[in-house]
């Protein structure tokens, strides 16, 4: 290797690690400002280490702003939504990818429409619908829309994965006498595990931090989720950013944990998958 490409290599590696620091910085920024007060955050010391460690921000967030309740609500809504999303979209994508039926292509395209419909577009009609059906202000009011909106993305991912699995596997299983249900449950599902991990992470992301629907569809305090809970730190004019930061740190933890745990899953399963395919 000549000197130029060596230098290029070093430059590139430096870039990688600088970007690494840049990517991690917001987390530290968040941690810092959860320990500061308004003045420090905005004026005296926005980007640096906190001058005093104001743990009371955390205490205030939990005791005075119902953060524990919102956390629990977010957790319930997210977990249930994801379970349903996985179940429904796995079944749907398998049918779309493997079975033959009329309108297959059209239906698949129909579901994909959900990918680019911003939630604001259907907000008020949806709210009225939820009220008319009688599930307003309950967990279902959020779970059902979240499931529906995430179906598009999950189906897309699963569909792609299903299509890359060789047909022979199903064919030989069929010839061995398995029913379609067995094939689905015992063969196909295990094969798309990496996709399941990916979809879980992305779906969790979209549900956990979701804001517009949660704002409009849930009005009673007992069912509010974290993003709306965070709003309660904003007063008519000013905002208590320190405690809000504390709440945000608390709210980021599950996401980060999930990624750290599931991210490994993805890595492991993928290695197995590609070795076999050759």
């Amino acid at each position: 290797m000549n000197i130029l490409s060596k230098a290029g290599g070093v430059l590139f590696r430096t870039f990688l690690w600088v970007y690494f620091l840049i990517s991690l910085y917001p987390l530290t920024y968040l941690l810092f400002f959860s320990l500061k007060n308004n003045d420090e955050i905005f004026y005296t010391n926005p980007l640096g280490f906190p001058l005093h460690l104001r743990i009371e921000n955390y205490v205030q967030a939990i005791t005075k702003h119902d953060i524990a309740l919102y956390f629990k609500n977010s957790l319930i809504v997210s977990i249930v939504s994801i379970l349903f999303v996985l179940a429904l979209s796995l079944m749907f994508s398998y049918a779309a990818a493997r079975l033959e039926w009329r309108l297959k292509g059209a239906t698949y395209a129909y579901v994909l429409l959900g990918l680019f419909i911003p939630t604001q577009v259907i907000l008020i009609p949806l709210a009225v619908l939820m009220r008319d059906v009688g599930i307003a202000n309950s967990y279902s009011a959020l779970i059902v829309p979240y499931v529906a909106f995430n179906l598009s993305f999950s189906s897309l991912i699963f569909y792609g994965f299903f299509r890359t699995i060789p047909l022979e596997i199903e064919e030989s299983a069929y010839m061995d006498g398995a029913s379609i249900y067995r094939i689905f449950l015992r063969i196909m599902l295990p094969l798309v595990k990496p996709a399941v991990a990916t979809v879980t992470i992305f779906a969790f992301l979209s549900v956990w931090n979701e804001f517009p629907l949660a704002l409009i569809l849930i009005t009673d305090n007992a069912h509010k989720t974290l993003p709306i809970g965070l709003l309660s730190f904003s007063g008519q004019f000013s905002t208590e950013w320190g405690p809000m930061g504390a709440a945000m740190v608390i709210s980021s933890i599950p996401m980060i944990l999930l990624y750290l745990v599931m991210g490994d899953q993805v890595e492991k399963a993928l290695t197995v998958g590609s070795a076999v395919k050759g």
Binding site: L151, G263, L270, S274
Partner: protein
């Protein structure tokens, strides 16, 4: 084989739950929105039917064209930044010779996981003309160039906002590309190595073309996210200064919630959906048309 693939019971069982949920939540309100776009409606009381008037008014509205322009800028920057950087990062991480790649992979994804509020707050601090990071860097380097990042009336503001979004979700695209690249079988790479190709050549000629399906998905995401952009401009600039960082979605919420012109807002929504639909169909048609099997 025919019996296996044609199984109406199984098909219904598998397909109906998803379709019913989806239709109830998405299609029904969407149709409601579509219908209301032909009305003059304040969102609460009965509206009056006015045919296509909302639409003709929309196409004459300067704000519509500003929003459209902003949406396109947003979409283009997102695509270029995220697909470009995403590919580079993903492929670097896949390379087992890269030092510390697990740490790198996890770190690059962290911004995606954070809430939009935090990221926007951070960037607001960095963009601050007085003590923000960027202008301080210029100061450090002895340059007298300063930029009022978020307060210019031209396209600088929207570009500044877009960079925040690009930076934040880059990890998302990177993960998708990584997953796609990981499922390319090893033997392709082995063959290339035997033929004496360098890493760069391998990637250019093999990996990237084989990622076409993944890129299609990523492209659809980036463009739709760009056209639909809302949260970042709402938090950082509230569409300002003036109206220079408006997006179509923001314009829609403004009509619906601030001006009580819900019918007009619905018309904007319909235009937005059609736009995204059109673009997605285009992408679908021209990229990765053959099914990839290996």
């Amino acid at each position: 084989m025919r019996n296996f693939k044609h199984n109406p019971t199984a098909t219904s069982l598998f397909v109906l739950p998803a379709i019913l949920t989806f239709s109830a939540v998405v299609t029904y309100p969407l149709i409601s929105t579509l219908l209301k776009s032909f009305y003059e409606w304040d969102g609460i009381t009965e509206g009056t039917f006015i045919g296509f008037d909302n639409f003709t008014r929309l196409f004459r509205d300067d704000l519509f064209y500003t929003s459209l322009r902003n949406g396109i800028i947003f979409a283009v920057i997102l695509t270029v930044f995220q697909l470009g950087l995403g590919t580079i990062m993903a492929l670097t991480i896949i390379n087992s010779k890269t030092f510390g790649r697990n740490a790198l992979r996890r770190a690059y994804f962290i911004p995606v996981v954070l809430s939009v509020t935090v990221v926007c707050q951070l960037w607001l601090s960095m963009y601050n003309p007085g003590y923000g990071l960027f202008n301080k860097l210029f100061e450090f380097a002895g340059l007298s160039y300063r930029q009022d990042w978020l307060s210019s009336m031209g396209v600088t503001s929207i570009i500044a906002v877009t960079m925040v979004a690009s930076w934040q979700s880059m990890g998302y695209q990177m993960a998708l590309i990584y997953a796609g690249a990981k499922s390319i079988p090893e033997h392709f790479y082995e063959a290339a190595k035997i033929d004496g190709a360098t890493t760069l050549q391998t990637h250019m000629k093999i990996t990237i073309p084989l990622l076409a399906e993944t890129y299609k998905i990523c492209l659809i995401f980036c463009i739709n996210a760009g056209l639909n952009a809302f949260a970042h401009m709402q938090i950082m600039t509230k569409g300002g200064p003036g109206t220079s960082t408006y997006s179509l979605t923001y314009m829609m919420t403004r009509s619906a919630f601030r001006l009580d012109e819900y019918g007009y807002g619905c018309a904007i929504a319909v235009t937005l959906v059609l736009q995204c639909l059109f673009v997605t169909l285009l992408i679908n048609r021209f990229i990765a048309r053959e099914r990839l099997t290996y």
